[in-house]
Structures are given as C-alpha cells and as structure tokens.
C-alpha cells in the first residue's frame, strides 16, 4: 500500500472509504502499541533493578495485548470487507502484503509480521531507540498520558468493539501513567546525573510529541467523535505539572517553538523503523507460519 492517502481519493463509495479509514485508524492504534511494546521489551533482563525490569516489561505486555485486540478487530473487518466487495476496493485492502502460503485470510499475525515499513502507521516517538532509562521513562510518560486522554474519548465511540478495547485498555494505562509519572519525578529531581539525562531526553523526545495531536487523513474520516487537537491542552497541563515537580520546567521551557516531526501516521518513518521491524519480523519472514 502506498504511503500516502492518494489511492483512497479514487474511491467513489463513501461507505467503503469510511471503512478503509476505520481500518487504517485501528492499524494506527495497534502499530503504535506494538512498536512501543517491542522497544520496552528490549529492557527484558537489562533493567536498572529487577523490580523495574519487571515493571517495564509488564507495561510492554499490556501494550502488546492491547495491540492484539486492535489487530484482531482490524483483521475481522478486513476479512468481512473482502468477502462482500469484489471490485477495486478489495484489491486495495488486499494490497496489505501477505505471503502466498498465508493468503487465505488476514490475521493479527499477518498484520504484525508481514507488512513493510511504509505500511506501519505508528507514532514516530515509539520507534526511537530506548537510549537509556531516562529516555524510556520519559517516552512512556508522554505516551501514557496521551493514551489515557485518547482512550478516554474512544471508550465513548459509536463503534462498540473499539469502545470496549479502549475501556479495557484504560484500566491498564492508569497504572502506566502513575508509574511513569513517579519515575519522571524521581529522575528529574534525583541526582545531578539523572537530572542531566532527563534534560537530554526532553531535548530528544519533545519534537516527536507534536504528532500526537495532528490527525492523519484517515483519522479525520474515521469519525472518532472528538477533535484530536482538543486533547492537547489536557496533555500539556499534566505534562507540565509533572515536569515542574521534577524540576525540569526550565528544560521544557527551552522547547517552545521547536520544530515538530511528523509522518509516522502515514508511514513515513525514521531510520530506526526498518531495524526494529527486521528484528520483530525476522522469525516469521524466515520461517513463515512458524509456531512454538
């Protein structure tokens, strides 16, 4: 599937266009969680202390479970859609690359393992390297606060299954927000070294937070029922409160008017994306359908 949204403009049937947008939106939500889960899982066996090694991988597991729920739902819609329409729209949906021997149906696994970099719609911030504990904590904090607000809206969605997944997830996210907030404060207001690392993390990660609130074409069409940009102020309020308590207010102030990166939602990624996919997809690409 091409990276942009050019191909959807030729669709005449608005119902089909809406459906494709909803599929793209579900995949965007799933990809964001899958890639963040993968990055956090890199800490497995390498955490600063055992309890926090377990904490970050528990969060990883929550995110992976949420991603699976979104992928399963997306796959179900794609499969139904493929059955009911035989024309160009099917080829559009089918252009999600599935190897020949797995062609029968789209599954959560085919969506996770057999799409290429340009087909992934995750937020850029999730694919950035884990760097150190400060970067990992700050990214989790930014993302968890965002997800808390986003899923709070999505659990009111007209789509009952999307609302159910969001409602289920938000109970887990509350723990993530609490845990990551505490760590941001602990590190920012900790030692000279931990403070310095948090400042560096803010400088590196802040430019990737703008993308949270700028909807992709499919997000607008998917009628999520709320204005994405309206979450921005609540997000900022929470983030500023915590960063100030962490004595990181001055570092944040320097980020005013900085250029914001974007592109992840439409498949334009950083140079890190190909590498993380190579690791994530290696086994299934080499031995398609392998099980253990």
């Amino acid at each position: 599937m091409p990276a942009g949204n050019g191909s959807s403009s030729e669709l005449k049937d608005p119902a089909v266009s809406l459906l494709l947008s909803r599929i793209s939106y579900l995949i965007h939500l799933a990809d964001t969680n899958l890639i963040l889960a993968q990055r956090n899982a890199e800490w497995c066996g390498h955490g600063p202390v055992l309890e926090q090694d377990i904490a970050i991988t528990n969060i990883s597991l929550d995110l992976l479970g949420q991603a699976r729920n979104f992928y399963q739902y997306a796959a179900a819609i794609i499969n139904i859609k493929s059955d009911i329409s035989a024309d160009k729209t099917e080829s559009e949906v089918r252009s999600i690359s599935i190897p020949e021997n797995k062609k029968a149906t789209v599954t959560e696994d085919s969506l996770a393992y057999f799409r290429t970099e340009r087909e992934f719609k995750n937020l850029l911030i999730t694919e950035l390297p884990k760097v150190d504990w400060a970067h990992t904590i700050l990214r989790q904090f930014f993302c968890s606060v965002y997800q808390y607000l986003l899923y709070g809206q999505l659990q009111k969605n007209n789509d009952a299954q999307l609302a159910a997944i969001a409602g289920k997830s938000i109970k887990e996210i509350i723990y993530h927000v609490k845990w990551s907030s505490e760590w941001v404060i602990r590190l920012g207001d900790g030692t000279e070294e931990s403070h310095k690392r948090m400042v560096r993390a803010i400088e590196n990660l802040w430019p990737y937070t703008g993308e949270f609130f700028v909807p992709a074409d499919y997000e607008n069409k998917a009628t999520t029922g709320f204005d994405l940009n309206s979450l921005k102020q609540s997000w900022l309020d929470k983030v500023i409160t915590i960063l100030e308590e962490a004595t990181l207010g001055a570092a944040l102030k320097k980020m005013d008017f900085i250029f914001m990166q974007s592109g992840g939602k439409t498949g334009i990624h950083t140079e890190h994306m190909g590498i993380i996919l190579a690791e994530l997809q290696y086994l299934q690409r080499t031995y398609p359908g392998a099980e253990w």
Partner: protein, 178 residues
C-alpha cells in the same frame, strides 16, 4: 455475571457445565478456578448438531489485555469439556464490561490468601490517582499485619504487585485491584 448471580438459574446440564468449569484452574495461580477469577461471564447451551453431540458456548473475559494465561485457559476449557463429551465447544472472548477484581469470588479470595498471595481490596479503595500514594492497606497474608510496604506496582504477573511486610519482613505478592 458473578458468583452470586450463578445461583439463580439452571438446568441440570448448565449446572454440570459450571461444575466442569470449576475444575479449570488459572495456570499461573493454580489454586484459583476460572470461576473464582470471575472471568466466566455466561454459558449458553447450543442446539445439538447431531444426537449426543452436546454443544456449548462459553463467554470469557480477559483479566489483562496481554495476559498470556488467557490462551492456556481457553485451551483448558475446551479440553475439560471435551473430556465430558462435549463435541462442539465455542469459547468467545468479550471485552466489555471490562473485568474487575470485584468479580472474584469470596472463596477465591480466601484461597489466594492461604496460597500466600494477598487478595485484592474492593475496587473503590484503589482509585487514588495521587502519585506515590499508597492508599491501600494491604494485609500480609502470612502474619496478618497491615504494616506493609509497596515494593513495586508491577509483580511476577500482570495482575500482581510486590509488597513487603514490615513486621515479619516477608515479601509477598498482592493481587492488585483492577
């Protein structure tokens, strides 16, 4: 559906199915049955496809989205029912309303404590969003002291947190409210 609701109903066959489900254990906390956990939401008898081929649909809800025990539980439910002659077994996962520890049976909470895991407090106690707050008074499952300390919000499985008793000094798992 929770433990209390279960007593309202039931044909003989439905009762049999609930009894079978009582023997399906949580693979990570084997003292708990899936009924103790509160994840069985509904049991529906389906018309038999052919004589003698009993058909049933079991509705379950996951504890945590990423809980790896769910796949094993799903498999064990099929296995146990198949052992009792059920041929067509459908296990359907439903997400809403989301599972809460309030659905755990009182018997289950007792079993947890005996097993050495502090059972979850009622849900309303947990909803303290203040940071660093330890609003829950968690009772040590060994010496019953409330003088306990949170070590980590995340424990050995998704559903547990790690505590330590300040009196008997024993570290223990707490099945956290959800």
């Amino acid at each position: 559906m929770n433990q209390n609701d279960q007593h309202i109903i039931f044909s003989k066959q439905e009762k049999e199915i609930w009894d079978i489900l009582e023997t399906v254990a949580d693979p990570e906390i084997p003292v708990l049955s899936v009924i103790d956990l509160g994840i069985i939401r509904k049991v529906t008898l389906l018309p038999a496809t052919d004589p003698g081929a009993n058909s049933v649909e079991i509705f379950i809800t996951p504890t945590y989205s990423g809980c790896p025990a769910m796949d094993a539980i799903n498999f064990d439910i099929r296995l146990k029912l198949a052992e009792h002659g059920y041929k067509n077994i459908i296990v359907t996962s439903i997400l809403s309303p989301a599972w809460t520890t309030d659905w755990m049976s009182e018997a289950g909470k007792e079993k947890l404590k005996v097993y050495g895991i502090a059972p979850p407090n009622p849900q309303q106690i947990v909803c303290d969003t203040r940071l660093f707050a330890e609003s829950e008074a968690i009772e040590c499952p060994l010496c019953n002291s409330y003088h306990t300390k949170l070590i980590s919000r995340f424990g050995s499985t998704a559903c547990k947190a790690l505590y330590q008793c300040q009196d008997c000094k024993e570290p223990f798992d707490y099945f956290k409210c959800h």
